[in-house]
Symmetry: C2
Subunit: 458 residues, 2 copies
């Protein structure tokens, strides 16, 4: 099998576009920043919201019964005792006595040390490593005002556990029975040793996780189904299929709780990397929380046996990162071409993901065109995300919209004032057609519901 | 002026409804909970999302130029040095040597101690207080894996500072000039000593903050305007006007940075309490961050003087709590009446806030009605949030929808199968009209855009 060509955009070009157009800024930048932390600017907020909305749509409006949850970032620490995070969520670290740097003992090959640290220092060079020590990946803090007698609590390292501890509440109020899912989007925090590659791996990040509870005998079937569905989700939102793959974990990669895991991976400029993991977690989590809490966390199936039967559902978990999904959508959409003899940068984002759906532009800032364009803008923006822009040449304004991925441009010109028609420009084909203002909002709203295919495939 | 009657619902009734219908659960409940922390269930997530969406709509689609931001929870600690939080964001605490409880020295009257602690123990009873000590309200943690040499960092106590430190970035990318605003929604954390009243005051909470940058001479005008606008926002979303008030702070209540602050307050079952503060912060924040960072945080106005003039904009800040806004909407919407001889609990939520807009119900679960109802449901749910429910009697299903505030109910009955009409029921008037299925989605979508008035005012 020949592999798809590496994407022709570098991470640096993405970082530059994100800053230039206000998608993503380094956090605390005026204070020299803070390691691997980013703030989202205007278009970044809109794009991120669209990514999350599409995920919610896939979860809540799909064929299965899935309900929403939003649990707190700081939970009772016993949650992390039961989940195994308190004991096991750590990395082995070593210090190099020579170069004074710190590495993960299990990933020495990733280290930035010029001296090529080795587990056997005598063999290679002068790197002299300490014995590995375990360092904890959960952020620890204190709840209650006085540190010495306040409760030690942790920032959650994943949203999933908030779902498991609410299993019983959801069963009661939502009148659900397996198979059903509980979905959650929210921030998680991991005190990672190795961060980097822009927003790909940060210590503060946002997750989209869903726990799907099924009868044990159906676990394998649902595991396969969710791998397929989640891969499709990225494709339907425009990711090129040959830049996506589902990769099953090898036996030695599997977490202790998982009998099978597959990653949906995207071919980033830095290589194939995980977008989302789909794990068959079995009954591990519910059993752990039942044992630690003393609560029965099971489903009583009245349809089984004579008097009914209780069982612990198995769990299939698709767990995605919002920030890295957003990065994949940006990378995949990034393109350059030539328009009227000039190089153009364009984000060929799926229209539903695009931060702005339609830009309304007066051809020139006089002769009543701005007033007319504002009226058109007002008629559109209640139905689709719109932006009005009257500064600078029309070509420059289009290039700006192309860079933020706006799929449609509406230009108000001299003829508009005479016959209430405008030109409608397509970001990808660059076609401009003349259409009446009446019905334009309906037309664009309808287009947003249509299936879409990346022009980079054409 | 006679005061509006205290609301006839208690906080306990709201808490019970929230748990029963899956709006809000106590966090980590199977482990005995964790002080004043809550998880949002399915309808809570939807309601909260609607509250935030309405806020964004008011900010981004209003008459002024406002852009979005989403800054990180963990920022460079120098941000909190400049903002004054590191030095000043603390409360004076005292311990009682007799009863072993801890109180805020400035709020002794709020204490739960039976012995009535006093600053002058000899005078009243046997409470024997220590000297006040300052306790810090920011959650502290360490970034980097090794606690002893890692950076001390803080969870943000407000989202506002993330806006100020991005002022320069936004000026550059967004091509804005004062007056303009930067809006943000996100979690903040305060290690409060006194929490409680359900989701009214929690240590982890969500804010909706907007910083509006204006020429200094216009600050007073914009301050007044934003008080008015923010009060109107709650009214337009259905809060009864006589349960709302804007209360200017007394001189001794003002923060050091503010020349004027007004609270928009709601009359909760626990009394008048702040929903949102609107502060005139002057140039305090930008000046502080300019001094601490060495960056120029000002606007260069080319229209002023001969060669233009630089100035530090003043800031008007409407800062609202998402959780307490949600609580106010729930309390205000809560009502009971009698329907067909039975007591009914109903949430008279504004249709745009309601978690579900329309419930589609087959009259009975046979004779092809479920299939038909599912088809109607599928035709509606792409346009408006819909729910399908076929279990139990029709009366019981309606009562359930009334309790979660669903404004419209569509019933598929025998006649539907013959002529493709359904009954459309109104939650508040209880009117049922027969309407064709064709056009129903358009009709409901259009209703969501109409102004709405609480039936409790009628």
């Amino acid at each position: 099998m020949t592999e798809a060509p590496a994407t022709n955009v570098t991470l640096d070009e993405i970082v530059a576009l994100c800053k230039r157009r206000g998608f993503v800024f380094p956090a605390s930048e005026i204070y020299g920043g803070i390691a691997s932390t980013y703030d989202y600017g205007h278009y970044g907020v809109l794009l991120k919201r669209n990514v999350k909305d599409e995920w919610w749509r896939a979860m809540l409006d799909g064929p299965d019964r899935i309900v929403a949850l939003d649990s707190a970032i700081i939970q009772n620490p016993r949650v992390w005792e039961a989940s195994g995070h308190l004991a096991g969520f750590s990395d082995p670290l070593v210090d190099c006595r020579t170069c004074k740097l710190r590495f993960r003992a299990d990933k020495l090959e990733d280290s930035a040390c010029g001296r090529k640290p080795s587990k056997h220092p005598g063999e290679t060079e002068e790197c002299d490593l300490t014995e590995p020590r375990q360092f904890h990946l959960m952020f620890k803090t204190h709840m209650g005002p006085v540190e010495d007698d306040a409760a030690v609590v942790y920032l959650r390292p994943e949203t999933a556990q908030g779902i498991f501890v609410n299993f019983k509440n959801v069963l009661q109020f939502a009148r659900v029975k397996p198979p059903f899912g509980i979905a959650q989007v929210g921030k998680s925090f991991r005190n990672e040793i190795v961060t980097g590659n822009f927003i790909f791996r940060t210590r503060e990040f946002e997750q989209m996780e869903m726990e799907f509870f099924v009868p044990p005998a159906e676990a394998e079937k649902w595991y396969e189904r969710w791998i397929e569905r989640r891969r499709e989700w990225y494709e339907e939102l425009g990711i090129r299929p040959d830049y996506l793959r589902a990769r099953p974990h090898e036996a030695d990669e599997l977490s202790h709780y998982s009998s099978a895991t597959s990653d949906v991976e995207y071919r980033f400029p830095i290589g194939w990397q995980e977008l989302e993991g789909i794990a068959n977690r079995g009954d591990f989590d519910l059993t752990q929380h039942a044992n630690h809490s003393g609560e029965k966390l099971e489903y009583f199936d009245q349809a089984t046996g004579e008097a009914g039967e209780a069982y612990v559902p198995h769990v299939i978990e698709p767990a995605a990162g919002v920030d890295r999904a957003l990065l994949a959508f940006l990378v995949d959409a990034y393109d350059t071409d030539e328009v009227e003899g000039r190089r153009r940068t364009v984000l060929r984002l799926h229209p539903r993901l695009a931060p702005v759906k339609v830009a309304v532009l007066p051809l020139v800032s006089r002769e009543g065109m701005p007033e007319k364009a504002r009226a058109v803008y007002d008629s559109l923006r209640q139905r689709v995300g719109a932006e009005y822009d009257e500064g600078g040449s029309i070509g420059r304004r289009y290039r700006r919209q192309d860079e933020i991925g706006t799929p449609w441009g509406v230009t108000v010109d001299g003829q508009t004032l005479a016959d209430d028609t405008v030109t409608l420009r397509d970001r990808d084909s660059l076609e401009q057609v003349r259409v009446p203002i009446v019905g334009l909002a309906d037309e664009l709203a309808a287009r947003l519901e249509l299936p879409w295919r990346s022009p980079k495939l054409a």
